[in-house]
């Protein structure tokens, strides 16, 4: 009996799950139905903004191919929605009129953009109808709309100072569109970074040509453009910010209504345990943006500190990989076999890396502590205390803060220091200890790091590495009468390997003869 698995949703996370299940589909162990609302097969949504500014193509974003999947035996229904789930009959009711049954069902419904409450926009959260010239930049059509505006050099307003908003703004500005970011805190990325980084970031944004409007409350959209398209964003002080395209970038919310509709418990996202099973219904699963890992055990220590859905794709992919393995074990050997797979480890807090050409920014964990906080300076017993190291050079657009406990990073933020950022992020991801001298990490971005030429006048230095000849030996040969590189080579073998030291040998000869002349 083939195990029937239904996957609801076909975004990047579902694509990874399908990839993982493919071998079992090919072998006939699993019968797989995938229902995708969009008419395209899964693509990398993370890069929709780059598509919107023309930095990549829709083809390059593809993560699956409908024809290939069909050839492998996957029943892929694109442009089809699940209307509801009949748990009693274990069936899904589809918009194409069919009602396929399932043995296991996976929610991979993702999230939808938050539509802010603005006069002029229909606030219905599940079916927002956005006026012309307003987009939430979520799918390929939204990207096409942005693309059109950028190509025409139209004025783009981004509402929201989060990661996606900033990435879109930077990309649009770099591609030549006059761009404004409107956000409501005192600096952008307020939820992730501290004031120091925020200040440096805002300055860097302005330097790249993005207009930044902070501490702003918007109340309405005006659509007085041609054919009633968007024309301005109206603020609560009555001022207006004029533009041709408004990109709403106010965060996302898990899509849980289908699960809730069939009585599956949800909080922010669909609640699942450490094996990604929904509460009380172990043959239903949720992964990616729509899932919230929080088990039913009130005493579970992991879940006490668990974070809600991160909105990042990395954790979703790890869930998809794990679940593919789990589902295959279930299909092969039943629950006993599946139980041999260790539960998915708890996610570390997500890392945010701004995908942008002009600005380098990395942030992760908690960055609220300041170096001079009392807690940090007082001696604590038992548990190692928290420490903060900081480097600020706003004049050059550079800022780093490392928050550690026992040498391990709890938070990091780095602006304008790409090598330092890359190293810190890796140390954070791996939970590795930082070097005790934190300034070592800052120096990764210093020019001295790249070149460490020994002093050219140090005669003990090896000049010819291939033959292992020191400057002193060459000087000796020159004293003995060698006056050309070939003569030195013949006498000492220096320069007889790769020849890379011929310049150095020549300098030693010249120095000698200059000395004689003087």
């Amino acid at each position: 009996m083939r195990e029937r698995i239904v996957v609801v949703g076909f975004g990047p996370v579902a694509a990874r799950l399908v990839d993982g299940l493919l071998p079992s589909v090919r072998s006939g162990l699993v019968q797989l139905l995938v229902v995708g609302q969009e008419t395209e097969a899964a693509y990398n949504r993370v890069m929709v903004a780059e598509l919107g500014v023309g930095r990549t193509t829709a083809d390059a974003l593809a993560m699956a191919d409908a024809a290939d999947l069909a050839a492998d035996g996957v029943d892929l229904r694109l442009g089809v929605t699940v209307k509801r789930i009949d748990r009693a009959r274990q069936q899904v009711v589809l918009s194409d009129g069919t009602t396929p049954g399932y043995d296991r069902l996976v929610f991979a419904t993702g999230s939808r953009p938050v539509i802010p409450n603005l006069t002029g926009i229909n606030p219905d959260p599940s079916h927002p109808v956005l006026p012309s010239g307003v987009t939430a930049l979520r799918d390929l059509r939204d990207a096409a709309q942005l693309r059109e505006a950028v190509v025409a050099g139209k004025r783009v307003i981004i509402l929201g100072g989060g990661v996606l908003g900033l990435e879109t703004a930077l990309a649009a500005a770099e591609e030549g569109a006059p761009t404004t970011v409107v956000h409501n805190g005192s600096f952008p990325l307020g939820r992730n970074i501290d004031r120091g980084a925020g200040t440096v970031l805002a300055a860097s944004l302005r330097k790249t040509g993005v207009t930044v409007v902070g501490n702003a409350r918007s109340t309405a959209v005006e659509h007085n453009g041609p054919d009633g398209t968007f024309s301005a964003l109206v603020m609560n002080d009555g001022s207006r910010i004029e533009g041709d395209l408004l990109v709403l970038s106010c965060g996302v919310r898990p899509r849980i209504e289908l699960a809730e509709g069939c009585g599956i418990p949800a909080a922010t996202g669909i609640l699942v345990d450490h094996r990604l099973r929904t509460h009380h219904e172990p043959h239903m699963f949720a992964i990616g943006d729509c899932a919230e890992v929080r088990c039913a055990d009130a005493g579970c220590s992991e879940c006490r500190t668990a974070l809600g859905p991160s909105g990042l794709v990395g954790p979703g992919w790890r869930q998809a990989e794990w679940l593919a393995e789990y589902l295959i074990l279930l299909a092969e050997g039943g629950q006993d076999a599946a139980d041999t797979l260790a539960p998915l480890p708890q996610e570390r807090p997500g890392v945010v890396l701004l995908k942008a050409r002009g600005i380098n920014l990395a942030v992760a964990g908690d960055n609220a502590a300041e170096p001079w906080d009392d807690e940090l300076l007082s001696v604590s017993e038992g548990m190692p205390g928290r420490q903060v190291a900081q480097w600020a050079d706003p004049g050059h657009g550079r800022y780093v803060k490392m928050t550690t406990r026992g040498g391990l990073l709890e938070g990091l933020v780095a602006v304008g220091m790409p090598r330092t950022a890359a190293e810190l992020v890796m140390l954070f991801e791996r939970g590795s200890e930082l070097p005790a001298d934190r300034s070592l990490l800052l120096r990764l971005d210093g020019p001295d790091q790249l070149d460490t030429p020994a002093s050219h006048n140090d005669s003990q230095r090896t000049v010819c590495r291939c033959a292992g000849i020191s400057g002193a030996s060459i000087e000796e040969a020159v004293l003995d009468g060698c006056s050309t590189v070939p003569e030195v080579s013949k006498a000492t073998r220096a320069g007889t390997g790769c020849g890379g030291c011929h310049g150095d040998i020549k300098r030693i000869i010249e120095r000698h003869f200059q000395g004689v002349a003087a």
Binding site: P12, Y43, N44, V46, M47, E50, R55, T56, T57, D59, A60, L61, A62, M63, D65, V313, G314, W317, R318, E321, Q346, E347, R348, V351, L353, L354, K355, R357, N360, P418, R419, A421, A422, E423, V425, M426, L427, E429, R430, G431, S432, E433, P435, A436, D437, L440, L450, D451, T452, P453, R465, C466, A467, G468, R493, T496, G497, C498, G499, G500
Partner: protein, 727 residues
């Protein structure tokens, strides 16, 4: 011999041309009987490194074995006659075969053997010993790149172009190769790229080669060990997404492009940055330079052991090939992909039947047509050729085990030092019923042998080797070997006779080569058009060299070696190991150990540690460590440390350097005993190639107690003494 013997260096795959002449009356400092001079040749242009210059000192070295040595019950090796030695070997083989079957006899070969020896060794194993159990140490270095090359291009020739093609390149991307130490004269060919700022080196260490990217020479990418595959995917992602791919080329010359695009979608630079530690800006920069170089003087992508010696080595080499195909490099006359072969005959040694799954001419042993062809050349019935055997690591794991190998021949290899998990390998050697080792010195493996047979060195023999570019070179005799020393061809010929083997086993290199020509004819590595006379005239012979043709300096100009003429792009992605954020460096073993080579030594060091000048320059294994990492463990430069994990422990001194990452330590693998790096490496292998993981063992480093330090000191003292005696 007025002008001396025109031959090539005994060591690495660059096979630098050299001339050997009898030493002048004034004895050279080394006391050697021959003098070396560099010879002008396209690969080395007259250059030699320190190893080449000092190579003759091993010919009349005091420790040279010049008689067969049999180990007595007291463990001491004593001379026996060749007649006795041959009788003992014959008896051991017969007894093992009778008691356990032919597969209980095994052969372990080497990538330093001439084509003639490698070919005849494969034939000897299958026909004279009747065993399928033959493999060689090339499995430790070239198998992953070979598997990837075969899969993508249909053929594996390290560099499918002459090495001097690199001279005019605008961009050369070296992945995991430290040529400045491993084949110094090769560095000349990087000069053009350095001058145009286009040398890109990916290495976790700021190696001597990576340092060439300084002063505007190019860029150094410093990924954390084990993340090379993700790095290459990130660069490929940029190529696809920024429209840098050569779509016309992909359309005309490859298959599999759409699946590659899909597999790359998830590897945008910022994500790759968090996996590798390489900044996204550098990943983009690298992609753009490669694409730009391809449009100007040419771009080359070259891989080395640094990216290949991993459990995902085949996939990593495949990713590098895919990147080169995206850019349209392979099969163009001024761009390409290549892998830098390591051992002297690492190329020829992997073509003519030393591998467990292979017959001469790079044929598959499971292919009925290949078997029929080779059986015909050998004049035997096809059923006499056994099927595929076990790859090296599996072969070594089987030593002394039930159903495993109980009688082993070792030729040109020092597995007690060079194999992963060397401690377990030594145990395996000790559990054998009979071990025969052919060598010129009492290597660490020879010390374990029941019988050690003295064989000729490079300057004492004729033959051919195939260098890293697939060019067949002549090795020439400059000196008569010491009286008790024999060639391995002679040995095989005598043993075949006493074992009553079918077919013929000549002891004349040229006769063996003539047979190799016929056996390779029609195979991928076809040598049928090459002969000694042609090589002696100095003609450049690149395989495939079909009879009547003029050879193939550049492969793939018209087509790849698959039936449809297209290169195959196979999507590859990292295993969870390198992407899962929850994988945390274990507290107990927080550092990653990378092993590698030093300029002064070659492979297990059995030869170079005996050259006084080289031993004096690098007498011992030093652990390279970042000062910040050392400070945390209260370790100072020169301190003795214990480097340990579950497999073993190394005792050595520390060298501090800020050219290494703080989470990584480096140990050269040339040294035996307590400094043997392979005591720490794990015998896990790539699923496709069977090649082991040498570059990412977890270790812990602690300061050693004085007692430990003393034991190491006495050990090192012995090594230094050896060096002194030699000089």
């Amino acid at each position: 011999m007025a002008n001396g013997a025109k031959t090539h260096c005994p060591y690495c795959a660059l096979q630098c041309a050299m001339t050997l002449t009898p030493a002048a009356s004034a004895q050279p400092a080394s006391g050697a009987a021959l003098e070396v001079s560099g010879r002008d040749f396209p690969t080395n242009r007259g250059g030699l490194c320190r190893k080449g210059w000092t190579s003759p000192s091993l010919l009349n070295h005091a420790e040279r074995i010049t008689e067969p040595m049999l180990r007595g019950s007291d463990g001491v090796h004593r001379p026996v006659t060749w007649d006795q030695a041959l009788m003992l070997v014959t008896g051991a083989v017969r007894q093992t075969r009778e008691q356990y079957g032919p597969d209980a006899v095994g052969v372990f070969g080497g990538g330093g053997l001439t084509n003639e020896k490698a070919y005849q060794l494969g034939k000897f194993a299958r026909l004279a010993l009747g065993t399928s159990r033959i493999d060689y140490n090339g499995r430790f270095c070239m198998s992953s790149a070979a598997a990837a090359g075969n899969r993508a291009f249909g053929v594996d020739r390290g560099l499918p172009f002459p090495v001097e093609d690199l001279d005019s390149a605008s961009v050369i991307f070296l992945l995991g190769s430290n040529v400045a130490e491993t084949m110094p004269p090769f560095v000349q060919h990087l000069q053009g790229a350095r001058d145009s700022g286009g040398l890109i080196v990916a290495d976790p260490r700021r190696s001597a080669t990576a340092a060439f990217t300084g002063d505007g020479g190019g860029i150094h990418l410093q990924p954390t060990p084990g993340t090379d595959l993700a790095l290459i995917l990130g660069i490929s992602h940029v190529v696809v997404h920024e429209g840098l791919a050569d779509t016309e080329y992909l359309e005309a010359r490859t298959t599999g492009y759409p699946a590659i695009v899909r597999s790359l979608a998830a590897f945008w630079p910022e994500r790759v940055q968090s996996i590798t530690g390489v900044p996204a800006t550098l990943i983009r920069d690298c992609a753009r330079r490669l694409a730009d170089g391809a449009r100007r003087g040419g771009s080359y992508i070259l891989t080395g052991r640094g990216v290949e010696q991993h459990v995902d080595g085949t996939d990593t080499a495949t990713a590098a090939i895919n990147l080169s195909l995206l850019l349209g490099l392979p099969g163009s006359s001024r761009s390409g992909y290549g892998t830098l072969t390591g051992q002297g005959n690492g190329q020829g040694g992997r073509e003519h039947g030393q591998k467990a799954d292979q017959l001469p001419g790079y044929r598959k042993i499971t292919d009925p047509a290949a078997r029929a062809h080779v059986a015909k050349v050998w004049g035997v019935d096809e059923s006499l050729i056994p099927g595929p055997g076990l790859p090296a690591v599996e072969l070594l794991k089987s030593l002394g085990k039930p159903d495993g190998v109980r009688c082993l021949f070792v030729h040109g290899a020092n597995v007690a030092v060079s194999a992963p998990d060397a401690g377990a390998v030594i145990q395996g050697l000790r559990s054998l019923d009979f071990l025969v080792v052919c060598d010129f010195f009492m290597s660490e493996t020879a010390l374990e042998a029941d019988l050690v047979l003295p064989v000729t060195q490079w300057a004492e023999e004729e033959g051919t080797l195939t260098n890293l570019e697939g060019r067949v070179l002549r090795r020439r005799k400059a000196l008569t070997p010491p009286p008790g020393v024999r060639s391995e061809l002679w040995l095989m010929s005598r043993l075949a006779e006493s074992l009553e083997a079918p077919s013929t086993f000549s002891d004349d290199p040229e006769a063996v080569f003539e047979e190799l020509r016929r056996a390779s004819a029609g195979g991928l590595a076809d040598y049928s058009g090459i002969d000694y006379d042609m090589l002696d005239r100095g003609e450049a012979a690149y395989w495939p060299y079909l009879a009547g043709s003029s050879g193939t300096p550049r492969l793939f100009l018209d087509a790849f070696a698959h039936p449809d003429g297209r290169a195959v792009m196979v999507p590859v992605v990292p295993q969870k190991r390198s992407t899962r954020s929850a994988v945390v460096g274990s507290e107990r073993e927080p550092l990653t150990l990378v092993t590698g080579r030093l300029l002064e030594h070659y492979q297990s060091g059995a030869q170079t540690r005996r050259v006084a000048e080289l031993a004096a320059a690098r007498p011992e294994a030093l652990l390279q460590m970042h000062p910040a990492t050392a400070v945390a463990e209260n370790i100072s430069a020169g301190d003795f440390v214990r480097v340990s994990n579950e497999r073993g422990e190394v005792l050595c001194r520390v060298e501090l350097s800020n050219s290494i990452r703080t989470d990584t330590v480096f140990l050269p693998f040339h040294f035996p005993g307590p400094g043997s790096a392979n005591l720490l490496t794990e015998a896990v292998t790539d699923p496709v190639s069977g090649m082991p993981e040498f570059k990412s063992s977890r270790v812990r480093v602690r300061k050693a107690e004085p007692a430990h330090a003393e034991s190491v000191l006495s050990m090192q003292g012995k090594l230094v003494m050896q060096g002194k005696e030699a000089s």
